[in-house]
Amino acid sequence: MSGQVEAPALRAAAGRPRPAVRFNRRQLEPYALLAPATIFMTLFFAWPALQTLLIAFQSAQGSFTLDNFGAMARDTDFRLAVRNTLLLLVLIIPIETTIALVMAVLAQSRLFGRDVMLYIWSIPLAVSDLAAGLVWFSIFTSHGYLNSVLQDLHLIAHPVGFLDYNNLGGLVTAIVLAEVWRSMSLVMVIIMSGIQAIPPELDEAAESLGAGAWQRFWKVTLPLLKPTLQVALILRTTTAFQVFGVVLALAGSALPVLAVKSESWVTEYRNYQLAATYAILILVLSSLSTVGYLLLLRTPREVFQR
C-alpha cells in the first residue's frame, strides 16, 4: 500500500527501492502479530493475577496485612484440602502419563485400526471438566449405571455407595478415573508430537546394532522424549493443582480441594481476600512443581544441537 502512495520522484532520488522501510516493516511484523495476544493476556491474565496477589495481602479495608494467610491456615478443612489436592495429583499424573505414553507409542505403530483408535482416544479432549464429572457421576452414583449393572447381575443386593462422603477410596478412585479419562488424550497428543520429532534414523541405527523393541524404547525414545515429557508434565501438574469441576460434580462437599475452597470463598462467603489467598497458594504450589520439573528433567543443550 505504502509503495503506491510514495512519490515516484522520491524513489528515483533514493536510487533504489526503500530497503530501510522494508526492513522496518519486516521487523515490526512479528510484534504486530503478537500484539493482540500480548494485550489480551496482559489485560485478562497478568493484570487480574497481579490484583489477586495484592488482594491476598490486603485487609477488607485495603491496608497491608499477612492475616489472610493465618486465616486460611485456620480455615475448616484447609489441611484436608491440601492433602486431597496433593493426593489426587500424585495419583493422576503418573497414571495418565504412563497410559498416554503407551497410547502414543501404539498410535505410532502400524497396527490395524490405528486411525480409528486415535479418533476415539481424542474424544475426551472436547469434554469440559464439569461435564466429565457429571458423566462419571451418572456411572458411580448409588442409583447409577454401575450399581444397576451389578444389581442386574446379582453381584450385589444393595447399591454400593461409591460416592459416599465417608468412602475416601471410592471418591478418590472416581475422581482419578474421571480426570485421567478427561486429560490423558491431551498428554497423548503432546507426547505423540514429541515422538514424531525423533529422527527415525536413530531408532533404525539402534535396531541394526541389535537392540530389541523394549531396549530401543528405554534407551532411545524415552531419553529423547524428555523435553516433551517436561512440557506435558508441567502443563498437567499445574492444571491438576486447579482440579475443580470433576471434584465438585463427583464429591460435592465430601472431598475439599484447594480450587473449590477458593471458589466458595468468592461465590458463597463473599470474602475476596481469603479467596485470593487460596489462589496464591495454588499459584505458589504450581510454580514450585514447575521449577521441580525443570530441574529434574533438565535436558543438556547438546541434545538440541544436532
Binding site: 478443612d77 460435592g252 462437599s253 473449590v260 461465590t267 462467603y269
Partner: protein
C-alpha cells in the same frame, strides 16, 4: 441493551408478512392508561430459562409499557452492580426484584427509595400480608421494598416411605425424633439410608445452612443465634448426628433435592420449595409435600421473601411504580406463582384450590400446615449482616462439617464457632432478629 423491542417488531412484521393481523403485544395493548415506556427490571428471581420466558409471555405481556425482564445476574452479583451504579450516580435500573437479604446492603448504602406513599396507594385495593410488609421496612419506619413473592422450606416424601412411619406418628406433624426413627425404620426394612439433606457446597449450593439456622436451631433453642452453644443446641446436634446416621451418605453431593427424590435415591427430603417442586409436578401420585418436623421449642421454619424496590435515581420512576402496581395485582400474583413456583404475598390470593398450578397447590398445603402449627416459630433470614452474610452461613456449615462429618466433640466445636459468629456479629454490629429475643446493641451469643 434490550432485544425485546426488536423481537416484538420482528414478530409483528412476520405475522403481518404471513397474512395475519399483528397480535396485540405487551407494549401495544391499548388501555385507558398511558403507556409508561421502557422499564428496566433487574430480577434475581425467575432465572431458569423457562421461568424467565414464562414471566415475559404469561405475566409481563399484559403490562402497558415495555418491561425489560433482565435475569442475567444472581442476587450476589446484582448487589455490587447496583451499589456501583449508585456510587457513580449513573443508575440504569428502574426496578429491582430480589430477596430480602440482598435488599439490606442496598438500603444501608442509601441506594433504595422510600416507597411508603406507593404502598399506601396500593394497599387501598389489595391485602398484603402484614408480616411481609413489615419485613420490607428493613427495621426502619419507611417502606423500602414492596413484597412480591414468598417461599419457604419444607419436606417432600415418597409415598413408599409412609409404611415405615413410627407408630403413632402423623406425617403432617412429625417431631425430629420421629423423623430419625422413621429413617431408622426405613434402613432396617430396606437396607438403605433414604433421608436426604442438601449438603453440597460451592457452586452446587445446597441449602443445609438454612436447615440448621431456620429449622433445627429454632426448634431446639427457640432462636437462631443467641442459643448457639446452649444445652438445647447440644441436644439439636445430637439429634442431627442420629439423623445423619440414616441419611443418604451421598447427601454431601446434593444441591437440589428434587433430583435424588425422583431417581429414588432418597425418599424423605427437606429443601426450598422451588428445589422440590419438580418431583411434585412430574410424579404427583408418588410424592407428597409435608411440613417440617418440630422440636422441644416448637416448629421452627423460615420464610424467604422477594421484594420489589426502586433504586434512587431510577430513570423511569413512573414506569417502575406502574410495574410494581401491575405485579402485585391478584391475577398477576397468581400467574407469577404458577411460573416461578413461589407463593403470592396477598392474603386473599389462594393457590391451594383445585385450579392451583401443578405442585404449587401441594406445597401451599404443606406450608399452610407449617405456618398454622400450634407451636409455629417463624425464623427470619439473617438480618443486618451486610457483607458478612456469607461467612455467617459458613459458620453453620462448618459446625455441621466438624460435628457430623468429622465427629468432633460437640461442645468444643460450638464454643469455637460461637466465637466466630460473635466476631461476625460484632463487625456488622447486627442486633438480634426474630425468633431471637430483641437485643440492645449487637446480638450476643450466650
Amino acid at each position: 441493551m434490550s432485544a425485546r423491542p426488536l423481537l416484538v417488531s420482528l414478530a409483528a412484521l412476520l405475522t403481518f408478512a404471513c397474512g395475519g393481523t399483528p397480535a396485540p403485544t405487551g407494549g401495544a395493548t391499548p388501555t385507558a392508561q398511558a403507556n409508561v415506556g421502557k422499564v428496566e427490571f433487574l430480577s434475581s428471581q425467575g432465572q431458569a430459562v423457562n421461568e424467565a420466558e414464562g414471566m415475559r409471555k404469561q405475566v409481563l405481556a399484559g403490562f402497558n409499557g415495555t418491561p425489560d425482564f433482565n435475569t442475567s445476574l444472581t442476587g450476589g452479583q446484582m448487589v455490587p452492580k447496583l451499589l456501583a451504579e449508585h456510587q457513580a450516580s449513573k443508575v440504569d435500573v428502574d426496578l429491582v426484584g430480589d430477596v430480602h437479604g440482598d435488599m439490606v446492603p442496598l438500603q444501608s448504602a442509601g441506594a433504595l427509595q422510600d416507597l411508603t406513599p406507593l404502598l399506601q396507594r396500593l394497599a387501598k385495593d389489595r391485602k398484603f400480608n402484614p408480616q411481609l410488609v413489615a419485613y420490607g421496612k428493613l427495621g426502619t419506619q419507611k417502606q423500602y421494598y414492596i413484597p412480591w413473592l414468598q417461599a419457604t422450606y419444607m419436606m417432600v416424601v415418597n409415598k413408599k416411605a409412609l409404611q415405615y412411619l413410627p407408630k403413632g406418628a402423623d406425617v403432617n406433624s412429625l417431631t425430629y425424633d420421629q423423623l430419625a426413627q422413621w429413617g431408622e425404620n426405613i434402613q432396617k426394612a430396606t437396607g438403605e439410608k433414604k433421608i436426604g439433606i442438601p449438603a453440597a457446597t460451592g457452586s452446587r449450593g445446597g441449602l443445609l445452612n438454612r436447615f440448621v439456622q431456620g429449622y433445627l436451631y429454632p426448634s431446639y433453642t427457640g432462636g437462631e443465634v443467641s442459643g448457639f452453644k446452649s444445652p438445647g443446641a447440644v441436644q439439636a446436634w445430637q439429634l442431627m448426628k442420629r439423623l445423619w446416621a440414616v441419611t443418604n451418605p451421598q447427601s454431601t453431593n446434593y444441591g437440589f433435592m428434587q433430583e435424588p427424590l425422583q431417581s429414588g435415591e432418597v425418599w424423605v427430603a427437606w429443601d426450598h420449595q422451588a428445589r422440590l417442586i419438580d418431583a411434585l409436578k412430574n410424579l404427583p401420585d408418588q410424592f407428597q409435600a409435608v411440613p417440617a418436623p418440630s422440636g422441644p421449642k416448637g416448629l421452627g421454619y423460615m420464610s424467604v421473601v422477594a421484594g420489589l424496590a426502586i433504586p434512587v435515581g431510577a430513570p423511569n420512576q413512573k414506569g417502575a411504580e406502574a410495574l410494581i402496581d401491575y405485579l402485585t395485582r391478584p391475577d398477576n400474583q397468581k400467574k407469577t406463582t404458577a411460573v416461578v413456583g413461589f407463593f403470592p404475598v396477598l392474603t386473599d390470593v389462594s393457590v391451594s384450590g383445585s385450579d392451583a398450578p401443578p405442585g404449587v397447590g401441594a406445597e401451599a398445603g404443606a406450608a399452610g400446615k407449617q405456618t398454622n402449627a400450634k407451636k409455629a416459630l417463624p425464623a427470619l433470614l439473617p438480618v443486618g449482616l451486610g457483607a458478612k452474610d456469607g461467612e455467617f452461613n459458613k459458620a453453620y456449615f462448618d459446625t455441621f462439617t466438624r460435628i457430623v462429618l468429622h465427629n468432633e466433640d460437640i461442645q468444643t466445636v460450638l464454643s469455637d464457632e460461637a466465637k466466630q459468629l460473635q466476631s461476625l456479629l460484632d463487625t456488622a454490629k447486627a442486633p438480634c432478629w426474630p425468633p431471637d429475643p430483641p437485643s440492645t446493641g449487637t446480638c450476643q451469643v450466650r
